[in-house]
Symmetry: C2
Subunit: 188 residues, 2 copies
């Protein structure tokens, strides 16, 4: 069976490489707009499923797709549209906590399984200067929630409750469990 | 002020680089043996302090030192001495949780501050094959506790409670807080 990652994200590619297995990358563009009237975990699985179904697949392939958002209170934080929005998002995380949720879809020729993984992230108190320095230096405009925990912003994080790699965008542990328990695929 | 990292660990060097500040590395070898009759958090701070005091320092330098151990029940897990011990350690983590504790010491010419940071790590159930594959492929003999969460073994981790970077060996967030609150040093 051949693994196919449905994601253009270099961070997801790096994470999947941690498993030490060959895979290819195949991406189809879909409408990723979020229906805010739906429960977040349901909606995020729907988008992951949409991504997995939008690519062509061969009989011997396993399609893996993911979608990640940040949830702060009732607000869904997508990619910030500009500097001001990124700063506002980070300020809202300061000295508090927010959630990161990733939808997963694993699809083979005869089965399709979706799930979601939730991690709580606790930020220390940030100064306005730190926030502006981070946004101006790292320009996190391609990141849902306006930060990457694997770079400088990792030093903003007092702690997390849940899977770290889920926060980066690919919940590796849950993926291995799904492959083993739902698809009888042991990677090792 | 110039940062000096007292550690030969390439992982700690990479983590400190995340802050984007220049620093030098200076290491003195000390006796790192652990007094198991003492409380772990006290003992780990003592070792960090010992490391920080063993290097020469200039007046304008800030010495940063760390020591990390894994605690599983009442057992202190250091670096495994061979394949069998590494396998035994990983088997003991499977489908359970253990702690990772890092001692920190920050030292300037007129002040020395020590602290410790604790993170709980939850492993999924591992098969004997996975454990052996990991040990034989990654040879984690230089790692306290016999695994690195930043490589394949990251997929063994269901979740953590606390700072991820503490598990890697350098609690970045706490370090920034100590520099700011105890030494009035804002890095940004």
């Amino acid at each position: 069976m051949k693994l196919v990652l449905c994601s253009a994200s270099p961070r997801r590619k790096e994470l999947l490489e941690m498993l030490g297995k060959d895979f290819s990358v195949r991406v189809a563009s879909i409408d990723e707009s979020f229906d805010k009237s739906e429960a977040v975990d349901k909606e995020i699985r729907k988008i992951a499923l949409k991504k997995a179904c939008a690519v062509e697949m061969n009989e011997d392939e396993i399609i893996l797709s993911f979608d990640t958002v940040v949830v702060d209170g009732n607000q869904i934080m997508g990619k910030p549209k500009d500097r001001d929005e990124a700063i506002k998002m980070l300020r809202s995380y300061s000295n508090g906590n927010h959630g990161v949720i990733t939808g997963i879809c694993v699809r083979t020729k005869d089965k399709c399984y979706t799930d979601s993984v939730y991690t709580t992230v606790y930020f220390r108190e940030l100064t306005q200067r730190e926030i502006e320095y981070y946004v101006d230096t790292y320009r996190p405009f391609d990141k849902a929630g306006a930060y990457g925990i694997q770079e400088l912003a990792g030093s903003f994080v007092k702690g997390i409750d849940g899977d770290f790699y889920n926060v980066v965008g690919l919940p590796l542990c849950r993926l291995c469990e799904i492959l083993r328990d739902e698809f009888s695929i042991d990677l090792f």
